[in-house]
């Protein structure tokens, strides 16, 4: 029952919030409470997973393979908790800031339901359904705000991602045609029997779809326009929560279902990851606005995730999860603190900047350390050199923009004209403190990503 509790809470509360006016404060707070409740349920679920191993449920009580299966393993629970955490931060931030649209809280809750479903389902098509719930919510969220700018960015986002969804659907249909199964375990078992080259095309379609989600080069062109066009809370949601679908999808589908294909495609992943790192970081360098820098930085950062995936194996997957976790926290913190004014906002942003640059005690250094570790274990000098170059560039772009935004008297003074509400600033300060805590006490994050990385150690040949 625990496995669907969080999902149920979010789904019901999302639907109920849909007819309420989300601009009312109590609706906002109730939504925040709903996310908190879902997080509590997922934490409880995570404890069960830790103690008893993966939890499963098959819908309708049918035999597995017939009914839709749900499976909670460390990987899924981790990503669900991470994404809900980001949603919680962004929603709380926006509720304190004043919600501007009736549907905002409902959409965030439904997005949460979609994401939770995506991370817990064990069925290929059901994955797509939850994926669609998450995507349609984010399409609408992207248009959240009062300006034409936001609608424009929403349009780009929708068109590109619909294309991605189409690729994904084609891939699933192809896999179904070839395996006759829709449950992930079934597909994995049958794919293992097939000649790898016969499913590689389906795999490429699916990987491409997740690449678009992640915003890796060359599927990233929509990303900066969208992240800068939309409101900070939505940008945080897109980069901190929705982008997780990409990482998780590549792990689950690549690592869990199509390991041989992932292995075959690894050089391509590696190349794309490398280009993303360089391209994103180089683009980020001279951007003048904080949002733009952070947006391009995301492209670079997911490049690291891709490189970790290309290395593969439990260690590579663990590094990918670890990087995804710290990256989500960083991006949420940076996007939310981007426009804030007043005391301690500089501190919050600086923590984010140090985190992206990989300077402890901000937690971001763990992501890079994880990659170094994997690379050091098999003396992969290219990866080490790459991460170093990426670090150098991230140092430069983060601190150029930090100094421009918070140290330059003209900018800082105009920025400090009206201080943001204390409660809003408190949200980012709490996020900053979490980032520091991750650095000072990395054990939980390290442990969780290690466990998550081992989720399908057995399915790998």
């Amino acid at each position: 029952m625990l496995i669907v509790l969080g999902l149920g809470i979010l789904w019901f509360s999302g639907v109920c919030a849909a007819i309420l006016d989300g601009r009312r404060r109590w609706v906002g707070f109730a939504s925040v409470a709903a996310i908190l409740a879902a997080i509590a349920a997922l934490v409880a679920l995570g404890m069960n997973v830790r103690d008893e191993g993966p939890q499963t449920m098959t819908a309708g009580g049918w035999p597995s393979g017939v009914g839709i299966g749900l499976t909670a393993d460390m990987l899924g629970v981790t990503f669900a908790l991470l994404s809900l955490g980001v949603l919680l931060a962004a929603l709380t931030f926006e509720v304190f800031n004043g919600v501007r649209s009736q549907s905002f809280p409902a959409l965030v809750l439904l997005l949460g339901a979609g994401l939770t479903g995506v991370f817990l389902t064990a069925d290929a098509f059901n994955f797509y359904v939850f994926f669609e719930i998450a995507m349609i919510s984010s399409y609408i969220l992207t248009g959240y705000g009062d300006e034409g700018r936001q609608l424009r960015s929403a349009t780009i986002f929708v068109i590109v991602n619909l294309l991605g969804s189409a690729f994904f659907l084609m891939g699933i249909a192809a896999l179904y045609h070839q395996t006759g199964r829709l449950d992930m375990a079934g597909i994995a078992a049958r794919v293992a029997l097939l000649n790898p080259t016969s499913v590689i095309l389906s795999a490429v379609l699916i990987f491409t779809a997740f690449g678009i989600k992640l915003g890796i080069f060359p599927f990233h062109f929509w990303l900066p326009a969208v992240y800068t066009g939309t409101r900070p809370a939505v940008a945080a949601i897109l980069s901190g929560a929705v982008a997780n679908i990409g990482t998780y999808g590549l792990l689950r589908w690549g690592g869990g279902m199509l390991p041989d294909e992932l292995h075959t495609a690894a050089p391509m992943f590696f190349a794309l990851g490398v280009i993303s790192i360089l391209y994103g970081s180089l683009q980020a360098l001279s951007r003048r606005s904080v949002a733009e820098v952070v947006a391009y930085s995301s492209i670079g950062q997911v490049g690291f995730i891709l490189v970790a995936l290309a290395i593969g194996g439990p260690a590579g997957f663990a590094a990918a999860v670890l990087f995804a976790i710290v990256n989500a926290v960083n991006k949420t913190l940076l996007f939310l603190s981007e426009n804030l004014r007043g005391w301690l906002t500089g501190f919050a942003f600086a923590v984010g900047a140090f985190s992206v640059a990989g300077v402890p005690p901000a937690g971001g250094f763990l992501g890079k350390a994880g990659l170094f570790q994997v690379a050091a274990q098999d003396d992969n000098w290219i990866v080490i050199a790459l991460v170093v170059v990426g670090s150098v560039l991230s140092f430069i772009y983060m601190f150029q923009i930090y100094q421009r935004r918070f140290w330059t008297p003209e900018v800082a003074e105009s920025a400090n004209a009206v201080a943001s509400p204390v409660s809003v600033r408190a949200v980012v300060v709490v996020l900053a403190i979490i980032t520091l805590l991750i650095g000072f006490w990395p054990e939980p994050v390290l442990w969780v990503s290690e466990q998550a990385g081992q989720s399908f150690a057995t399915t790998r040949p």
Binding site: V15, G65, V66, I140, D183, T264, Q373, F395, W407
Partner: protein
């Protein structure tokens, strides 16, 4: 609580306490800062006599990281330096910073920030020197860099300060990445982050060599050794107490500390010592040369710092008892003397407003005590007998002597330069005719200098306690029980001769400066201009320009084009087809006569599809699209899927109606506008249209190939669909499709109707927004 824990807690809590009290009441920041530093200093002193037991606790077992700290000899030396000189500097700052803020027209509250960061540095440094776990070292290491960044950028309203802070952060921060990699490589190779375990287990190999070189790079950058030295002179834009503390006595010392910490691993490879030797000598000579001619007081001292740490690095490179233990002794002597000199520069600037040697003079008359104290400090650094510094040169000469004649010459030359620039410094300020007016300074700007100067003198008469601290530290590096017993030998030992030579040629150099000054100055200026700093600046600038250029390309040509997703995706399929030798048999079954209608309907759908893609007005595009839909519904019906066909027809009908209703909402001019934006020239529009058509056709073709390729594969015999068919009666149903939708895959249906609901929410939101406008 034992002594180790107490020292750690005292040092680490100083900054938070100061920040908290300062936030509550700004006037409390100063006393709390002094008090906490004093406690930390006492704790360090206590540890010098009775070191507490090591702390070793679990930290992050997942990676084998431990909270492993120990107040060993090396830690005690640097902790004493950090807290002791820290105490002097913070007392000095309590007088200096309010004046500084006053000059800069800044609110007094800002001093809380200053004290918080400077104490954060003290805490981080204390933690760093005690840490035995590599990751813990890395954490504290970067904490010191963060503190340094904010202290250099303390006057962030000045461009100069921002540039300097940025440069210092980039150089030390990036080189710290080298440390991280080195640490992780050692762990990967030898399975531990714990230094004592590593020292016991490391057998030098290729990996450990690279790891240690990376760690050395981090250390040398921190100690501002050539060619990563250029950030240090720039860092002098920080308030003077920061320069005195971080950028001469303590933080820069972290680099040589690290060399000391890893020394047992470094000595395993002779060439690594040679590397240290080369870097040290180059820094010593280059720093010395530049210090000879700088006019700005703090710049002179900064280059002198580079040179002095060059001394120390060289001594580590020379190795042995005299080298390593002597290096430790030199660190103490240098820390005391150099901080006193920096503080002197601060006091002088406070009193006269001048920052250049050429703008002051004759202060011995108005500030005799300061002249004496800083004279002692300068004498110590210049290794005049009866000061502490004399012994550091003694050990230096001794180590050099073991290494041959060339090294002896270099050592003497370096010492002579030291003497010369310090003489210039002291005489420039206190000697000569009186220049400018002197305003009185508070005693708090004098007392710390006097104490530090007195200590430098004390060390000349009674070096034993300092030597003991240095010996204990050196023993950790050498893993030996050697001890230093400095004493004056009034005989013709090689060291004494070299010292005499050094001072003699220093004096000669000083008095002959008319001869060489212009040449050296020119060379130095040139060195500053075309040195690594220039490479750094040019690098950052070029990167930014390059970034601008590619950004422009992206915005102009690539953004918000569907082709940018379609084309790469198609390309990936092509690459896959080519490189993975994907099993790409494309089968074409012989059409059956009964399929004729089916093929016709598919043909109609295809034609309608193409028609929809030809850009005309929206209305005909919508019509063509619904043509595709209806044709496909017929296909479903012909394939004996009545449920699907029914849904398809209904959905098409509904979509048609909704689509046209939406079209009615479009403004007139949009409805009939050309698809190509009007702001583009005609030919370019045509060009784009051709390009887009080609790309679209390419993408479509590959999608077709993928579908064909997949469908050419045999379907498995036991599809899950068979199970659905078998189980449908049990599920109380007759129509398989409905049972699948409501039961077997009901969760999917649940999801999809939620999608519909959310879409409704979205449409309502967007249309309502329109209404508001």
């Amino acid at each position: 609580m034992n002594a180790t824990v107490f020292l750690l807690l005292a040092a680490l809590s100083a900054a938070p306490l100061t920040a908290a009290f300062g936030a509550a009441r700004p006037s409390l920041a100063r006393p709390v800062a002094i008090l906490t530093t004093a406690i930390a200093f006492l704790a360090a002193l206590y540890n010098a006599f009775r070191p507490g037991p090591a702390i070793d606790k679990e930290w992050a077992p997942a990676w084998g990281m431990r909270l492993h700290l120990e107040a060993d000899g090396l830690a005690v030396l640097f902790a004493l330096l950090a807290t002791g000189i820290g105490l002097a500097v913070i007392i000095y700052s309590s007088g200096y910073i309010p004046l500084h803020l006053h000059h800069e027209h800044r609110p007094e509250e800002d001093q809380t920030r200053f004290f918080a960061f400077i104490l954060m540095f003290m805490g981080a440094m204390t933690g760093l020197v005690m840490a035995q776990d590599l990751m813990l070292i890395f954490l504290f290491w970067d904490l010191t860099a963060i503190a340094s960044y904010y202290l250099i950028g303390f006057d962030s309203q000045k461009r100069e300060a921002r540039v300097s802070a940025f440069m210092a952060l980039i150089v030390t921060g990036i080189s710290a990445v080298g440390f991280l990699i080195g640490a992780l490589m050692l762990d990967a190779e030898f399975g531990s982050f714990q230094l004592p375990e590593l020292i016991a287990s490391v057998v030098p190999n290729y990996e450990s060599d690279i790891a240690l070189v990376l760690i050395l790079i981090a250390a040398l950058a921190k100690s501002a050794q050539v060619p990563l030295h250029f950030w240090l002179p720039r860092a002098m834009t920080a308030p003077t107490p920061v320069s005195a503390y971080l950028h001469s006595a303590a933080m820069v010392a972290a680099g040589v500390f690290l060399i000391g910490r890893f020394y047992p691993l470094i000595v395993l490879r002779g060439w690594m010592l040679d590397l240290l030797l080369v870097v040290g000598v180059v820094s010593m000579v280059a720093g010395g040369l530049l210090a000879l001619t700088r006019d700005n007081m703090k710049q002179l001292l900064a280059y002198s710092t580079i040179a002095q740490y060059g001394y120390i690095v060289t001594m580590f490179g020379l190795g042995g008892k005299a080298g390593v233990l002597g290096a430790m002794f030199a660190i103490i002597a240098h820390g005391l003397a150099k901080s006193a000199l920096f503080l002197t520069a601060g006091t002088v600037t406070e009193a006269t407003g001048a920052r250049e040697l050429s703008a002051v003079g004759g202060l011995r008359h108005s500030m005799p005590l300061l002249a004496l104290a800083s004279g002692l400090a300068a004498a110590s650094l210049a290794a005049i007998p009866l000061t502490m510094g004399f012994f550091k040169d003694e050990y230096f000469f001794e180590a050099a002597t073991h290494h041959g004649r060339l090294m002896q010459v270099i050592a003497v030359v370096a010492a002579a330069m030291t003497f010369c620039y310090l003489a210039r410094f002291w005489k420039g300020i206190f000697g000569g005719p009186i220049l400018g007016t002197v305003s009185p300074v508070p005693n708090v700007l004098l007392a710390p200098i006097v104490v530090l100067g007195a200590l430098s003198l004390l060390g000349g008469f009674w070096p034993e306690p300092f030597a003991r601290v240095a010996s204990n530290a050196g023993q950790v590096s050498l893993l030996s029980t050697d001890e230093l017993h400095p004493a004056y030998h009034l005989s013709r030992t090689t060291e004494n001769i070299m010292a005499a030579l050094a001072i003699g040629s220093g004096v000669l150099l000083f008095f002959s400066r008319r001869v060489w000054f212009a040449t050296v100055e020119l060379a130095s200026d040139l060195g500053e201009k075309i040195g690594p700093e220039r490479a750094f600046r040019a690098g950052v600038l070029n990167l930014n320009n390059f970034s601008d250029r590619i950004h422009w390309i992206e915005v102009r040509d690539l953004r918000s084009r569907v082709a940018t997703v379609l084309a790469p995706a198609a390309l990936m399929v092509v690459i896959t087809l080519i490189f993975t030798n994907a099993d790409s048999s494309f089968e074409l079954q012989k059409p059956h006569r009964d399929d004729l209608t089916l093929i016709m309907m598919i043909g109609i759908a295809a034609i309608a599809g193409v028609a929809a893609a030809i850009p005309r007005d929206h209305f005909s595009m919508a019509l063509a699209l619904s043509g595709v839909g209806f044709a496909l519904s017929v296909v479903f019906a012909l394939l004996r899927a009545p449920d699907v066909a029914l849904v398809a027809v209904l959905v098409e009908t509904l979509f048609g109606v909704l689509f046209f209703a939406f079209l009615a909402l479009l403004p007139r001019n949009v409805e009939h506008a050309d698809v190509v934006p009007s702001d583009e020239p005609q030919e370019l529009g045509h060009h784009h249209r051709v390009r887009d058509s080609v790309l679209a056709a390419f993408g479509g073709l590959l999608a077709f190939l993928v579908a064909w390729g997949v469908l050419s594969r045999p379907a498995p015999v036991d599809s899950v669909f068979e199970r659905y068919v078998d189980l449908t009666p049990a599920a109380h149903g007759g129509a398989i499709v409905t049972v699948i939708l409501a039961d077997f895959r009901g969760l999917d249906t649940m999801g999809e109707i939620t999608v519909i609901g959310i879409a409704f929410l979205g449409i309502a939101t967007f249309i309502r927004r329109r209404r508001l406008r």
